[in-house]
Symmetry: C2
Subunit: 566 residues, 2 copies
């Protein structure tokens, strides 16, 4: 395992920082360097874009994975004086793992860490927002969302100010997932008025992957633009794997605690209990997980609606809870214990992502009674969580045909009171395994245009197997594309400016600028160079697609010249 | 060059034929063989899908490229007795190439072919339709569109009958591109009430490709589902290349005659003339090209609107004609000679695809005065063409942000009187070179859902270089996905049934059936087998994505069992 990783920005760019109002606040961004030397029209020397890579994208830094990332939020958390350092881990399982000497070798333990917890009141960003407090986290995201637009040629700051961020968080229309035990995290915001975000899933499975490859996948995913990473590990040593990921993650980490709870009872659904689940929540909250997917909205009364479905229940969490309810003839314990769950989350500021256990797994099952019945329950739970000042987002879609997408968004806004919508795709057809990053990017772009705040990526391996490193990159870049298309359609000035800069570079034959402004410069270079590898061709006024005589961009020159002379 | 090609259906399927009402009519389809042996619920043994592969997808056939495909339409054309075999080629250029002995080696000349031409009246499918005649071509497409739905479990024939096809063609709402000199072509229909079609562009460029590789690309494109192929060659020997492609193409071939006309004057736009263009039209019409893209709607008055655009004119044809108008200070000769053009097209039944020379090349230029000014002119030209009984489709989009797509479709329907809309993408962002098959599949699916009848594919190499064989496949499968998603959203029962069959196979762990029902079985197999290569795993009740305990599909079993027992 390689422990020291030198920061490396995406080709053609470099890390820059914008200072906040407090000494310790430096908001990282990625500055694309433009080579404007010989071009006909004046262009800026640089273009700044949103950056999720953290220190891994900063060439002046070297990250020692055994030490973890700098704790940029620690001072802010300390300054609030509303949390206490605990004497040790509160969860039984956490202590057991810590005291198991056979795990020493695996453990991220080179730095001694004890968790923090709220003292007297909730310590969620929502609680602060409702008190009228603008936290450093809120200021950070306001700066971050603006992407130095004034330098990119933008005039407006689109109204994203720290106060506006506070308002949105207070109203529940946006969340800032930021566990007090994940001080390494660079704050980011998920909400309809902000840039559309994307999540990448990683995690080992019972048969594959080790700790190192999961940490590596996570770093790889954020390099290409994942705004959050969900660790969905279901294999061995998931407690230790999660610790390594968290200590080295500059983006919020999400998880599905139910998976680990099930592992603790050796995969026997009937053996699951509130006690085991509760201990798992605390274990993960104290490690620093920023949001939990909790399938509390799947009720016993919904289950019969799934029996006639073509694909039944396809959410893993949903299937587990449905089975539990059925075996025990009891209501979903995540629903019955939801208030207690919220009390735990509020003490660490873990956001809740209300899981859609009944999302449709086929076109045929979309928008049915099971799906929308659960969605209405998620609305009830949203209000309960908000009563406890817990930040909430709502999970949605799955497989949904295009003409039924709008109804999903409308129902979510109506029944869940404008809480941010976090959707998987939707996949707009079932018949393209191997291309499901595309089927879901189509639906994802559409639902994000209509208001979904975060899209969960889908890789080409969906329905077929565990994604590898290449699949992770393809999934992330594909979903950045979908999210960006939605940002444009929503009128986000920062998004529009980047397309403008790209198209101008294209028209002016600034090939390198095109490559560097692209979401994936490496692929753009490789594809161009496959037919015209010479350095000369990086400045030529045509490419191999049309050749010289048939280059329309080139012909424009003559037209414009003639018109200006006549 | 390999001249004999043994037919090979896509993995897991075989060619079947449905007889028409006339002895000689056999409509080819692809029958997917389902292995329903051990599954819990009864399923059909086969599922029939639309097939564009012609004899190349029939394992009982071997195609000798030097002889070309069987002329399945020849008898139908002969029976109409309204065309005459010409004594020789009418075009000067065609004769020159034929008499050039140095080309003998390249020439598709093993079969002596003389062209046919109308005798006394237009011989277009539109003319017949307006006379109340149901041609064999119309019957063929009606059978073809229905995909043996009754065997697939569908109840309705969705009203697609030969008479309904005739009606749509007569009204100009649909076209059947079928040149009388392309008797090898299997009839297909492009129109809003039918399955959404896709086009694949192939063609050499001045620096790359030979005849063989273009023929190969064309066969490869139709294997994966291209409904038409446009030969956009701009390199050497394009007359001979086109002949090889046509004689071996079971799908309609489109072209942009302007490209070849420009080659004939060595790329000097100022030297282009009506005479050279006219000769090119006749040359290609007599070879059998089924539709021509003609940029007749770009008028001098539109050109000043492009000057302030970010990316000016990006259509190759558009840029050529704008330059010609500017240099000569004259109106576009394709516009001024449009009636003569239509007379030529009507004599061979070449459809006209009215080119969008002013389509936007960047988000910034979408839906502007240049684009919509030209679109209105295309409406005028549509009426002129219809007056001559020429079949028409309208080309559209390019780069258009999602929120401006609907206006494009509405404007087209309004100004072009419901003529079929044939769009490139649209690409919904400019910043994803290397992923533009995806940016355009997003826009393509959306505009097709709203009524576009055919989508022009975009490959991952768009904006970067000439696509290779892999890029062609990726482009075709991606656009089949987008078109299919639109078919579902439009409520096409045949499309919906396939998703249903796929999802049922998925839920029943019939892995092979899933792979075979997929748009690309080879990729589905490869991705699955990357982690679970053993044959056993083709029947296991989980895959490597979630593993055994976390397989939601598996958990459903238990839930359903419990519910049915309780």
């Amino acid at each position: 395992m390689q422990y020291k990783i030198k920061g490396e920005p995406i080709r053609g760019s470099r890390k820059v920082y914008v200072d906040g109002s407090q000494n310790s606040m430096r908001v990282g961004m990625r500055e694309i360097v433009l080579s404007t030397g010989s071009c006909p029209v004046n262009n800026p020397d640089t273009f700044t874009v949103y950056d999720t890579s953290g220190p891994f994208g900063d060439e002046s830094q070297t990250v020692d994975l055994t030490l973890g990332l700098p704790r940029i939020r620690q001072q802010w958390i300390d300054d609030r004086k509303d949390t206490a350092t605990l004497p040790g881990l509160s969860s039984e399982y956490g202590r057991k793992r810590l005291n198991d000497a056979t795990l020493d070798e695996l453990r991220f333990g080179h730095v001694c860490r004890t968790p923090r917890k709220a003292k007297d009141h909730p310590v969620t960003q929502m609680w602060y927002a409702r008190q009228g407090i603008i936290t450093p986290e809120m200021e950070y995201v306001a700066i971050r969302e603006n992407q130095r637009m004034e330098l990119n040629g933008g005039e407006s700051l689109m109204g994203i100010t720290p106060e506006m961020v506070r308002c949105e968080v207070a109203a529940g229309r946006a969340i800032i997932p930021a566990n007090i035990n994940h001080p390494e995290c660079e704050p980011m915001i998920i909400g309809r008025k902000f840039l559309v975000k994307i999540n990448a899933n990683i995690g080992n499975s019972p048969t594959t992957s080790d700790i190192h490859s999961e940490v590596e996948k996570s770093i790889w995913a954020i390099r290409w633009g994942a705004d959050t990473v969900m660790d969905l590990s279901t294999g061995s040593n998931i407690h230790e794997t999660r610790e390594w990921i968290l200590r080295n993650s500059p983006v919020p980490i999400g998880s599905v605690p139910l998976y680990q709870a099930l592992e603790k009872v050796n995969g026997k659904v009937e053996a699951l209990s509130w006690d085991i689940y509760r201990d798992t929540l605390i274990e993960q909250a104290e490690q620093g997980v920023d949001y939990f997917t909790i399938h509390a909205g799947l009720l016993r009364e919904h289950i019969p609606h799934t029996v006639k479905r073509v694909t039944g229940i396809v959410s893993r969490g949903g299937a587990i809870m449905a089975k539990w309810c059925t075996v025990h003839q009891q209501e979903n314990f995540l629903f019955t214990h939801f208030d207690e769950i919220c009390d735990i989350l509020a003490a660490y500021d873990v956001g809740v992502s209300l899981g859609d256990g009944l999302r449709p797994g086929s076109q045929a099952d979309a928008n049915d009674a099971a799906q929308f019945g659960e969605l209405k329950t998620l609305g009830l739970l949203t209000q309960k969580a908000w009563d406890k000042h817990v930040q909430v987002m709502i999970e949605g879609p799955g497989h949904v045909p295009m003409h039924l997408i709008t109804e999903n968004m409308e129902m979510e806004l109506k029944h869940c009171f404008d809480a941010p919508f976090y959707t998987l795709g939707p996949l707009v057809t079932d018949i393209a395994p191997g291309y499901d990053h595309i089927t879901s990017a189509i639906g994802g772009a559409m639902i994000a245009m209509q208001g979904a705040s975060m899209l969960c990526y889908v890789t080409p391996k969906e329905h077929l197997g565990l994604p590898n490193r290449d699949d992770v990159k393809t999934g992330v870049v594909t979903f950045k594309t979908a999210a960006h298309a939605a940002d444009i359609a929503k009128g986000h000035p920062g998004a529009i400016l980047r397309d403008h800069a790209m198209s101008k570079a294209r028209f002016e034959f600034r090939w390198r600028d095109q490559f560097h402004l692209a979401l994936d410069p490496d692929t753009a270079y490789a594809f161009h160079d496959a037919t015209l590898p010479d350095e000369d061709n990086k400045t030529s006024h045509f490419c191999s697609m049309c050749g010289e005589h048939f280059c329309s961009m080139r012909a424009n020159r003559d037209v414009r010249k003639s018109i200006s002379q006549s």
